[in-house]
Amino acid sequence: MILKPRLEDIKNIGFYLGRIIVGLGLTMLVPILIGLAFGEINPTLDFIIGIEITLIFGLILQKVCFTEKDLNWMQGMIVVSLSWLVAMALGAIPLYLSGHWKSYLDACFDAMSGFATTGLTLTQDLDHLPYAHNLWRHLIMFIGGQGIVIITLSFFVRGFSGAFKMYVGEARDEKILPNVINTSRFIWLVSITYLILGALALGVVGILNGMKSVNAFFHGACVFMAAFDTGGFTPQSQNILYYHSLPYEVLTVIIMILGAINFKLHYHIWTGNRREIYKNIETVTLFITIMITFLITAVGLKQFGVYSQAIVLFRKGFYQLISGHTGTGYQTIYAAQFINEWSDLALVGVICAMALGGAVCSTTGAIKMLRIGIIFKALKEDLKRIMLPERTIVIEKFHHIKKVFLEDRQVRSALLITLSYLVLYGLGTIIGMFYGYPFLNALFESTSAAANVGLSCGITNVNMPAALKVTYILQMWTGRLEFMSIFTLIGFLVAAIKGK
């Protein structure tokens, strides 16, 4: 028998959702300050309206649903899944008010793409976008990459035991420090430290490239936020091609890889345990999958003679591949070039890389390296069982911060999530094909959306069907939260309708 949710459940969910909304609203102060600094009157007003609506909504929710009770698992999961939808709807308000998005749905698409660190965009006339809006696009990637809930836990919450439930709901099942709030704060410490260093480095390269110093540092900060959070937005419409600079490409590759590494690994590197990089199952798997997918891509590019020189083939092929593998979506070629010039084999290489993703507890999306490593280890264990004498006890181990014995529970979980991702990629592909797009194009765009990558072969544009925009929004949301909190929300809604 399904039990109908109680009023207490709804009140608890509403109260904590209200808290997160207020926290999110306060982040709009940053673009307001930027708008004032650059003397942008109407863009500043867009954010004042945005922050007001967000705070009104958040405060009313907190007042109406006031409770002192803590969250249980179900409520925590629902708060997370709903907070991402509400963040999209509220974060899209200032974008829509700017007039650079054709419809509110398009603004929602970009807001979800930003929060989920995807990078697909429907912005109109991006090259004339105000600084305030451009910063907001990148800031929501920075917030979403770390996690909307994490920012609230880090800065706006003094501590409650329900925090861990929300932390897990946001696809982070690994605690770096014993306390989840301290873990959140550590994640922000890492991110902000890298932000300062990365923005400075990109800013200096920008100046050396001939950019005005204000623009160089503004672009530096924006590009860092999107690269480290494996997002993929850029302040200009040409993406990374705008800069025409090898040092810029090298720096962004480094930042993308840093973003694809587990925060737990960052902690160990910071605390002096550098050997962990070479031993960790995730970094080893990442290295192997990069090599394999790059080999596929390079052979595909060579077959068609896409690039006449090996160095050019490496520069173009490796950049798009790393960008896809880390889930960033930065491009140094035009979207149409993927389809018009790259061979099917090269595209398959990039699609595989996008589908695999980076490390768990990082800012990337997709299946992720730990799961791939575990599945591979399980396969190895089963092969050993078949090949060795029956009496042999086969034990498989892997190194992830410490030595871990492979258990069926881990394998089951890894396989379930992998299967869920494959279904999600497939569903988006079928819907894309339903609207008349060829199989490979539809698969490419669907994988890019669901794995929160942002590389595009040209399907994502203002004129694509509204239903496909909604499909990609749902894929980005589901892919970022890794299913569990979304399944819980669906279960909750079913219980609300059918429960007794």
Binding site: I41, N42, K63, E249
Partner: protein
Amino acid sequence: MMRKPKVKRQKAKVHNNDFIFYFYLVLLTFSFLLLPFICSAQPLSSTELIKNARQYDGKTVVYEGEVIGDIMRRGDYAWINVNDGENAIGIWLPNSLVKETSYTGSYKSKGDVLEITGIFHRACTEHGGDLDIHGQAIRKTSPGRQIQERLNPGKRSLAIILLGILSLVWISTLLKRK
């Protein structure tokens, strides 16, 4: 006696016709030879160039659009990015040609619209495989300008009304706590 001049006249007429025929033939041949140059004198769109990059690779093209973002000087040359409303393409130009550019497109300015004649590269080996145009000549077809931003009264009124509502909600929250 009377017929001879008529034959001569007829022969002259035949010669005239031949001349006109050959003249048209030569003209037609030259027209065909000049056709690609005449065609390329019409600006091509960025979508056309990107879509048919192999076809235009290494050819002289004319491209027109608004200069956006920064002018990035690199030694004797500079990069400008020119947006025709569909996409922006990087143009590699000698510094001397960039001098004409006064405005570049941003939120606060409309950039100069330039007509660029240059060699199109699908994957420029000089620039790491980038799709670009090496500009040889530019012409400003429309000058840029500063954009004067005017306060949107509708947005201002909405912001004030929402501020009032927010204050009321906030006060009511504080009252309940007390």
